[in-house]
């Protein structure tokens, strides 16, 4: 069995994230890392394998991103994934959802080519930078696979997969037959830390770099200049003006709070 985990390299959310002059995200000047939400995807891929003792399962971590994005794959290798693939091509910079999903889908097809296609594609619930939560569904569309998204509990037996998820107004159980595209939430269980052994082992694991040409994608189909959605401007939100802070003494806080709410006509 062949599992592909999609991991995105993102600017650290706790750092000062900003945009370049062409309105693309500054992915060089700001420290980056494996999106924390994709750690859950790696974890679930590893658990999927661990629960299926005796089966031969290979897990590949896949990232599409700039040079430093390889760090996201390395972290996944340290956590226990077997192989890494980094799609690196200057032409990809600034790609929109449509182009990103195309490149990812082609890479997944290539990774699975020798074994008749990937059996399971695992994604996070959202990236922590753009937070679109659309790529997993778009991959399912492109690969023609069932989309089983936003899972908080994952169970499988043979080729049957069942997940539990929170929808807007309900909790649902979804069932599908492998191969599928799965996305998992941060409710699915804490991700493991790489062990010392894992970190050492990762150094010897295979890590391949693909360019667009290796995937049969034309450079004219992707990137900023052909993006079907284009950013025209970005504005930093002005810092909120410092508000009034009172200290509660002998019950004064409640009165002050109520006065404030009344002054703003909330009561």
């Amino acid at each position: 069995m062949n599992i592909v985990v999609c991991v995105k390299y993102v600017p650290d959310a706790t750092a000062d994230r900003k945009f370049e002059d062409d309105f693309t995200v500054d992915r060089v000047g700001v420290d980056g890392l494996l999106s924390e939400l994709d750690e859950y995807a790696v974890e679930q891929a590893l658990q999927f394998r661990e629960k299926r003792e005796g089966e031969e399962i290979e897990i590949t971590a896949l990232t599409v991103g700039p040079e430093k994005a390889v760090d996201a794959v390395r972290k996944a290798l340290q956590m226990g994934v077997d192989k890494g693939v980094h799609v690196l091509d200057d032409a990809i910079a600034g790609s929109d959802y449509v182009a990103t999903s195309l490149v990812l889908a082609k890479a997944i097809e290539k990774i699975g080519a020798e074994s008749g296609g990937a059996d399971l594609v695992v994604c996070g619930m959202a990236s922590t930078d753009a937070a679109g939560s659309v790529i997993p569904a778009m991959l399912a569309e492109r690969l023609g696979l069932p989309q089983v998204t936003l899972a908080s509990v994952i169970e499988s037996q043979g080729d049957q997969v069942r997940i539990k998820r929170d929808n807007e107004g309900s909790t649902e159980v979804i069932g599908a037959t492998l191969p599928i595209v799965l996305s998992v939430t941060d409710q699915s269980g804490e991700a493991r830390y790489p062990s010392f052994k894992g970190i050492m082992a990762a150094k010897k694991k295979p890590l391949e770099t693909f360019a667009l040409a290796d995937l049969g994608v034309d450079a004219g189909e992707v990137g900023l200049s052909v993006a079907w959605s284009q950013v025209e401007d970005t504005t930093e939100r002005p810092p909120r003006t410092a508000g009034e802070i009172v200290t509660d003494e002998d019950g004064s806080g409640a009165g002050a709070l109520v006065e404030f709410l009344a002054s703003k006509k909330f009561i």
Binding site: Y97, S133, V134, T149, G255
Partner: protein, 324 residues
């Protein structure tokens, strides 16, 4: 005038407020045509509702065909509807309320139609060459103006992005027979358990949200009591959810709900970046926290340094006895 498709947000035929916001936005771009995925016997009642906000047409797609499977059938139906509807005076845009499900529908639709997609818009205005959207990104620290440059713009719009304005629409009901392929029926909804209604306003739609965090110590009564005195929805930080004090549906933040109410009151919440991501665009922000150094105080219009277990019940009491 060209049509703007607006996907109706509803629960069992009960139309939700974001629908009216989207119809209001749609009128800036063209002629709103509402799309109802639901039971045909609810169609007339729904049409009455949406025509009051300017829907010229109401396309009814019998959800016997689309429900029971995740996302893919809806995307197929919308593709067919879009192809039909662009036959006339063209299709100016497709607007969907920004829920997880609709974003996924929109993503698949973008590939099917060969169209650009913009998600989580907080404003949409008519521009010289099609709609111009505003998104709030990086935990609300930046706003981004964008437009779709290829195909029919597909835009998912967050709740509270416009004040609903009434307008007379013809509201002509038209049944649309979509053909759903077997390939789209592969992720089956095996069981659904509706969440119990809290009797409080919906978190994402509420004008006031009162949230509690780890500082509640697991006792949400002060938070809930205060919320009820204001007619507010109740929210929670992830720490409160992870501790099992509140269900995940109440979580505000990056991996929970994004709220943008008139008033947000954070109680016993430190103000981590991931929490801010879900509430930073609120109009007025208030916090009660016993730590004067808590980062949440950087955001607030008004803050009380104090113990929520004493401040909130006392404030609730004062609000309740206050003459209105």
């Amino acid at each position: 005038m060209s049509e703007v498709l607006v996907v109706i947000d509803h629960v069992a035929g009960e139309v939700k407020k974001p629908t009216y916001e989207l119809l209001t936005i749609a009128r800036r771009l063209g002629e709103p045509a509402a799309v109802f995925f639901g039971s045909p016997d609810q169609a007339d009642a729904v049409a009455q509702k949406v025509k009051a906000y300017g829907a010229a047409k109401v396309y009814v797609v019998d959800d016997a065909q689309t429900k029971g499977f995740l996302v893919a059938p809806k995307a197929e139906a919308l593709q067919q509807l879009a192809e039909k509807s662009s036959g006339g005076d063209g299709l100016a845009a497709i607007l969907l309320p920004s829920t997880f499900e609709n974003k996924e529908v929109a993503g698949r639709l973008a590939i099917k139609l060969g169209s650009g997609l913009i998600t989580d818009a907080v404003d949409v205005q008519a521009g010289e060459s099609g709609p111009v959207t505003t998104q709030s990104v990086f935990a609300g620290n930046f706003t981004v103006q964008a437009k779709v440059t290829h195909g029919t713009p597909i835009i998912t719009v967050k709740p509270n992005s416009a004040a609903p304005e009434e307008a007379d629409g013809a509201g002509t009901v038209e049944t649309f027979d979509a053909t759903i392929s077997d390939a789209a029926r592969t992720a089956q909804i095996v069981a659904t358990q509706p969440r119990q209604s809290t009797g409080r306003p919906e978190l994402t739609e509420a004008a006031i949200v009162v949230s509690g965090g780890r500082g509640t110590g697991g006792n949400f009564e002060p938070v809930e009591g205060f919320a009820d005195s204001l007619g507010a929805a109740v929210g929670a930080s992830r720490a409160a959810v992870d501790s099992g004090w509140m269900p995940h549906a109440f979580q505000v933040g990056q991996t929970g709900k994004t709220v943008s109410p008139q008033l947000y009151v954070a109680n016993g919440i430190s103000g981590a970046i991931q929490h801010r991501a879900g509430m930073q665009t609120s109009k007025t922000i208030v916090a009660v926290n016993k730590d004067p150094e808590a980062p949440i105080f950087e955001l607030v219009d008004f803050g009380v340094v104090g113990d929520l277990h004493t401040v909130l019940p006392a404030a609730t009491e004062q609000i309740t006895v206050r003459p209105r």
